[in-house]
């Protein structure tokens, strides 16, 4: 039996402007045979959450350079980046560091 998993996704640092200004998204990802790794998550976000200008959030299959990804408050570089497989209750932060400060 497949269990659906619940996650919180956050968009900060200006990235929220691409998501209608909404910073926090509580999401139940649909069951699917493919694993929910970050790679597939990004595809899903692009199709379902991103409201405009996808090229400002993504580049190829990854996030645009300048956008940081934190999985449970840790650098995704420590977790395998796109290959990390989401666990139940995992939260992911997308923080933009582009133009300004």
């Amino acid at each position: 039996s497949k269990i659906s998993v619940v996650h919180c996704f956050y968009f900060r640092g200006g990235a929220e402007l691409l998501f209608d200004g909404v910073k926090k998204h509580q999401v139940t990802l649909p069951c699917q045979p493919e694993p929910w790794d970050i790679r597939n998550l990004l595809k899903w976000i692009k199709q379902n959450l991103l409201k405009e200008r996808p090229e400002l959030f993504m580049q190829g299959e990854s996030v645009r350079p300048g956008i940081l990804v934190l999985i449970n408050d840790a650098d995704w570089e420590l977790m395998g980046e796109l290959d990390y497989k989401l666990q139940d209750q995992d939260n992911v932060h997308f923080i933009s560091t582009l133009h300004g400060g």
Binding site: G13, G66, L68, L78, G80, L98, G101
Partner: protein
């Protein structure tokens, strides 16, 4: 990056730039490289995994070391922190707060003030959005207990022409700008009294400016100025110029000898290459260095310039630093992105695969030092950026194309049809007052009538002065013909 293999390929870098290694997906959480105990929370530099606690120490230490190494902020000095609401300047504010509250021996000892400039009008924000940003920023500033100033970019239209002249450097009796500084201060006090500023906190030096928005006519004037600019690059340069002048004026009139701005290492590296592309190669050191002394009496200092944008973002996340993010300058439809944006995209893209990119650019910039200040008189300084005019003699021939301007402004300017006065109002008359890159920017600005009054006033002053100097040089020693002047 240099692909030249073998030894030092001339750029002082390692034989080949390190390519990023991706951690395998199932590696156990790594221990911190510093303490070996906490589990690592982030990777900085070229693969150093730090835990939260060690990262905090590293971050805080870097700020103190930056100020300690450079020794330009004196105890008791008034320092104006320029806050954009963005991550870097917000982190800078927190470092100042923490530094001031430390136990006596290691405490920072200067007197901070804060300034926030609302640029919402040119960033495409509605009045409601601007008010919301201002309200959030004011809450943030008030919570610090430091004196703060809220300004609107529209106020740049009211700046005095004196802001384009360097003030006297060093301590002691202020020179001719003192009168203007006093006048500016009185004018500002008057403006604040006219507004309803019931939000004054006890213990603050001066009443904060009310967060209400400026008059709609002012906003329209500012928008006209920005809309008349022909390229997004020139618009970015204009915005930076107006913001800098506004902050400088506040510093001058309120007695701040120093201004701290929050440019990160990432931002500095991008600015270095952007400004190179803009023709500011001669001024890279002042544009990106720790100290920017071009204004004479007020020194701009960049204490965040060794922090990567990633480090700042993680610090703000871990330690709940509040920020108020402003939307970027909008680009018109079908307009090419600015050189600033392109350079950001270029460097950040390269950084992804070669994580020493930004630091290499930064370290190269570190090798530049400002030229000794021989150009102290205003006739040798650029009207807009106050850097030494980098045009001289035969080099002008190479710049001939930039000197070709359109005809002088049409009669809409008023009564300037008389021959001597018309010269002062023509765009071509501005050119000798500007450095190479400011000429390029100026060419892309709108009609003279849209430019801020202080720019036109100071330009006219210098043009007339140059004319008078030239005329006095032409007067023959003996009167050969009666009536010839």
């Amino acid at each position: 990056m240099c692909e030249a293999a073998g030894d030092d390929g001339g750029c002082g870098a390692d034989t080949a730039p390190a390519r990023r290694r991706r951690a395998p997906a199932h590696s156990h959480p790594r221990p911190c490289v510093k303490c070996g105990q906490g589990s690592a929370a982030l990777v900085i530099r070229l693969g150093d995994a730090f835990c939260r606690g060690c990262f905090r120490e590293y971050f805080v230490h870097k700020f103190r070391a930056m100020l300690g190494k450079n020794r330009v902020i004196f105890p008791g000095e008034k320092v104006l922190l320029a806050l954009s609401g963005g991550p870097a300047s917000s982190a800078m504010l927190r470092q100042v707060q923490e530094g001031l509250s430390r136990e006596t021996a290691k405490r920072l000892r200067f007197v901070p003030g804060l300034i926030y400039v609302d640029e919402g009008a040119v960033r495409g924000q509605s009045a409601a959005q601007r008010e919301q940003s201002l309200a959030r920023m004011e809450t943030l500033l008030q919570a610090t207990g430091f004196p703060y100033h809220l300004a609107h970019l529209e106020q740049a239209l009211e700046l005095p022409a004196s802001i384009l002249r360097p003030g006297p450097g060093g301590s002691g009796e202020p020179g001719p700008s003192y009168k203007e500084a006093v006048e500016g201060f009185i004018q500002q006090q008057r403006q604040e009294r006219d507004r309803d500023s019931g939000t004054s906190l006890p213990g603050q030096d001066m009443p904060p400016a009310a967060p209400r928005l400026p008059a709609a006519a002012r906003t329209q004037e500012l928008l006209r100025l920005f809309e008349a600019v022909e390229t997004s690059t020139a618009r970015e340069e204009l915005l930076q110029m107006l913001r800098t002048h506004l902050i400088l004026q506040t510093a001058r009139t309120r007695g701040y000898a120093k201004v701290m701005t929050g440019e990160s290492c990432t931002r500095v590296a991008i600015k270095l290459l952007t400004n190179l592309a803009l023709g500011r190669g001669a001024f890279l050191a002042v544009d990106t260095g720790f100290v920017d002394n071009r204004h004479g009496d007020v020194m701009v200092v960049r204490p965040m310039r060794e922090y990567m944008a990633k480090e700042i973002a993680f610090y703000n996340h871990f330690f709940d630093i509040p920020t108020v993010i402003a939307p970027p300058l909008p680009t018109k439809r079908r307009e090419k992105p600015s050189i600033h944006r392109l350079m950001e995209r270029f460097l950040l893209g390269l950084q992804e695969d070669f994580p020493s990119t930004i630091s290499t650019v930064y370290r190269t910039g570190e090798k530049l030092s400002p030229a000794p200040a021989k150009a102290s008189s205003e006739s040798q300084r650029c009207l807009l950026c106050l850097c030494a005019l980098d045009i001289a003699g035969e080099e002008e021939l190479a710049l001939e194309p930039t000197l070709i301007m359109e005809e002088p402004e049409p009669a809409g300017d008023g009564c300037c049809q008389d021959a001597p006065a018309a010269g002062a109002e023509s765009r071509a008359a501005f050119i000798p007052l500007l450095c190479y890159s400011c000429r390029l920017t100026f060419k892309e600005l709108g009609p003279l009538a849209t430019l801020p009054p202080y720019v036109r006033a100071e330009a006219q002053r210098r043009i007339r002065r140059a004319e008078m100097n030239q005329q006095s040089q032409e007067v023959p020693l003996e009167d050969e013909e009666p009536g010839k002047s």
